[in-house]
Subunit: 318 residues, 2 copies
């Protein structure tokens, strides 16, 4: 198995890291506070899951980047709002830390996040990870897994070209398979990111703005019509970047969401916890890309303005 | 002076009715509950105002439409969400109640409300009233006036034609002038309504959706840009109905709002009080008219969907 280091040991990083380590992979976990690191050293990492609970004892804990030892895959699972900090550390440590044929697996929302990581780690592969996972962190050392878990992986290439399936992607998928977790390998990172945005762009902002769960949003005819409009705008922007999404995708996503259990989106969890929201990678960057490609996303622009206002209001304590 | 009857003795109907009665006009006030009617009969109507408090004793109170006696002007100042009820009573009582050269003064938000009243009161003039007034009802017999008070009046005509200034409009304006209240007579009702919508369409929904006051909304660059986009969509829809609004109006409204005291919009007051919101006349009808005229209002459509969802969520007690 590959050797991993997880930066951002929250719900997402914790879920995949704990499963990989439990399956036998060498996994380091970076913790930002001494208190969290101490708790994990003492009691291990705990994954509560309907698939079976896992307790990981003797966790390989690092307190800062200097303590991380060389590995094959750096799993970056922080919120995109913390990327500036991670990129600064990565630029300093990538060469020492990552095997020459290793890479970064960036498990994040949004679009356009990979080029910054490629620049900070020259010569290393950068993979985008798109988690279809419902989980949350319930304590410094505990992750609660509620549902799903599939990780879609695709490789970044210069000029946003489709990079195909790489040996590193296959090796990670094999490890995840050993860990009982499904991986989907996608040949085209940008298409995969637009595809995920088609769900994220309606549901994440609306769940925050309207204080609603996904099932409420698809059950109401007014918000359902708006969701379809937003999805159509995403499809048009993706098409303008040469990524035609399947014509049935809107119907499929709506139907799948209607079948899902009531779901609090990641942005709703961030908002409720008083954390900054991923407004830039999930809304501003898609709007910038659409504008460059000559496509308007007027409904998406409204949500972006509303979220930017809410993000600032909450920041200023209003 | 003309003889008036006020249907909807809330903040708006109360403000104008009390001032007219205090200036000597014969004004009947219709109350929906016996308790409110009793309180007003016993203690009078009370207007608290920075222009001077007014206590109106010996109020002419009616408990239902059958108790109203003939008059010249029926002032309808209920929320548009109650129009169906008012129209049913009006169709039954208009002929008995309204002098042949009298009319209805419909002091309401939105657009497209007058034709229904014209149909319910054949042969009587229907005037639209656009209140620029900051006031609220603080009890069954008390209105608190905070600021402003100008009433713009314009006449409805078939096919939405501009009707010019009528003798009834002049007579009402003279009475309001005697009551120390400014009236502006507008020759074109539809233009006046679009003009007011240019302020109402951004500020009423956004104050509810984002739980914000008008000063917060114009102070933030993201919402300010959205407000300007919404206003531009309103201007385009008005132009498509042959009503060119002044090109400087957007800047003027933004600047005036920035100078205003923090202001809770009427829709925000409705939402906070658990009353239905005027979603139909303020958003759905403008969208229908724009669509008929071949103009898109994509940003307005987003606000409409969001408000429709919130209106239903609140109704169902969520």
């Amino acid at each position: 198995m590959l050797r991993y280091a997880v930066v951002g040991s929250g719900a997402v990083g914790g879920f995949y890291g704990i499963r990989l380590a439990h399956a036998g992979a060498d996994v380091q976990f970076l913790f930002r506070t001494e208190a969290d690191a101490d708790a994990v050293r003492a009691l291990g990492l705990d994954l509560r899951s309907p698939d079976g609970d896992l307790l990981l004892e003797d966790v390989h804990v690092a307190r800062d980047w200097a303590q991380l030892i060389p590995c094959d895959v750096l799993v970056v699972a922080v919120k995109a709002t913390s990327n500036a900090d991670v990129l600064a550390h990565l630029a300093e440590h990538a060469d020492r830390l990552l095997a020459p044929d290793g890479g970064i697996l960036l498990v994040q929302n949004g679009i356009g996040v990979e080029p910054g990581f490629a620049a900070a780690a020259p010569g290393r592969e950068v993979l985008g990870g798109l988690a279809f996972l419902c989980a949350h962190r319930i304590g410094p050392r505990q992750v609660e897994h509620l549902d799903y878990g599939t990780l879609t992986i695709a490789a970044h290439a210069a000029e946003d070209a489709a990079a195909g399936v790489t040996p590193l992607m296959r090796a990670i998928a094999a490890d995840l398979d050993s860990a009982g977790t499904r991986a989907v390998l996608d040949e085209d990172l940008v298409r995969a990111r637009w595809r995920k945005l088609m769900w994220n762009i309606p549901f994440n902002p609306l769940s925050v703005i309207l204080d609603a769960t996904t099932d409420e949003l698809v059950a109401d005819p007014a918000t359902l019509a708006l969701i379809r409009t937003l999805m159509a705008e995403v499809a048009a922007a993706a098409a303008a970047e040469g990524r035609e999404l399947p014509p049935t995708l809107i119907d499929d996503l709506v139907a799948a969401t209607a079948r899902m259990a009531p779901y609090a989106t990641s942005m709703k969890l961030d908002a409720d916890a008083g954390r900054p929201m991923e407004v830039d990678v999930m809304l501003a960057e898609p709007l910038r890309r659409a504008a460059r490609a000559g496509v308007a996303m007027p409904s998406v622009a409204v949500l972006h303005s509303q979220l930017a206002f809410l993000d600032r209001s909450r920041e200023s304590g209003l």
